[in-house]
């Protein structure tokens, strides 16, 4: 039963983290290069622009869901399983989701990178 809870929590971590990443990436692209904006305006203006972007708070909420699921999973299983399993699956899920929802050009170079990193993370747990 504990095993099922662990993998259930890992699935929630992957889903919530991917959704959060996509929403945050979309929000930050709408805001623009934070470094350039900061040079032209003040920190408060940059922060308020980020916070006024609707997908930013939604992304933060999804990241929080992923974070608490990770805490649950870490209390049930070793970090050597939970960390790499959730991270490697999130890499692959993000590559697919970014191509579909953000229309990023995920070419063979980026797919190879995502798969190499996901496989490497999984091997580190071995």
């Amino acid at each position: 039963m504990k095993h099922a809870y662990t993998w259930g929590a890992i699935a929630v971590v992957v889903l919530a983290s991917t959704t959060g990443d996509i929403l945050l990436a979309r929000a930050m692209k709408q805001v623009g290069d934070v470094g350039e904006l900061w040079r032209r305006t003040c920190l408060w203006t940059v922060a308020s622009r980020i916070l006024r972007t609707p997908s930013f708070p939604l992304g933060v909420v999804m990241m929080a869901v992923g974070f608490y699921s990770l805490l649950f999973a870490l209390s049930w299983a070793d970090v050597s399983l939970v960390g790499p399993a959730s991270a490697s699956l999130t890499f692959v899920a993000n590559a697919a989701a970014a191509r579909f929802f953000l229309h990023e050009r995920v070419d063979h170079r980026r797919w190879t990178a995502a798969l190499f990193v996901a496989a490497g993370v999984a091997l580190l747990a071995g």
């Binding site: 809870y5 692209k29 470094g35 991270a87 990023e104 170079r109 990193v117 091997l123």
Partner: protein
Amino acid sequence: MTFRKYLVLGGITLFAALGDSLLSHGMKEVGSISLNHWSSVLTAVFNPWVALGIVFLLFFFVSYTTALSWADLTYVLPASSLGYVLLAVIARFWLHEQITPMRWFGILLISSGVGFVTQGPALTPQAQHSPTAGFKESEPALPGARQ
């Protein structure tokens, strides 16, 4: 890519590795949390190691969102994954843990993945880059935003 941008990617790597390590250490002290007592996961944040881990993860979040403002998600994630290698190196040379050949191979794969992605462009060309496609805009574009 400027030096400042590489520094931001380095910040993501370092803060995530430190935050995760501290969080893991803290949760081991807190102990197993049952679904019947799920609210104890909220009080776990008062454990000093978990609290310190959260501080480092906040630094990670600032670096991460900054990077997402000028680079694709599919660039930022692999490019900042050297944190796993950093953790393994800390385990080998500071904690004197044994790293098996399989783990060294994992490190090689991650490093190769980072090498692959950083050779390419950080951002999808703007003509084909439309993060808002498929979504209904509720407010006008912000000045300085990419369109």
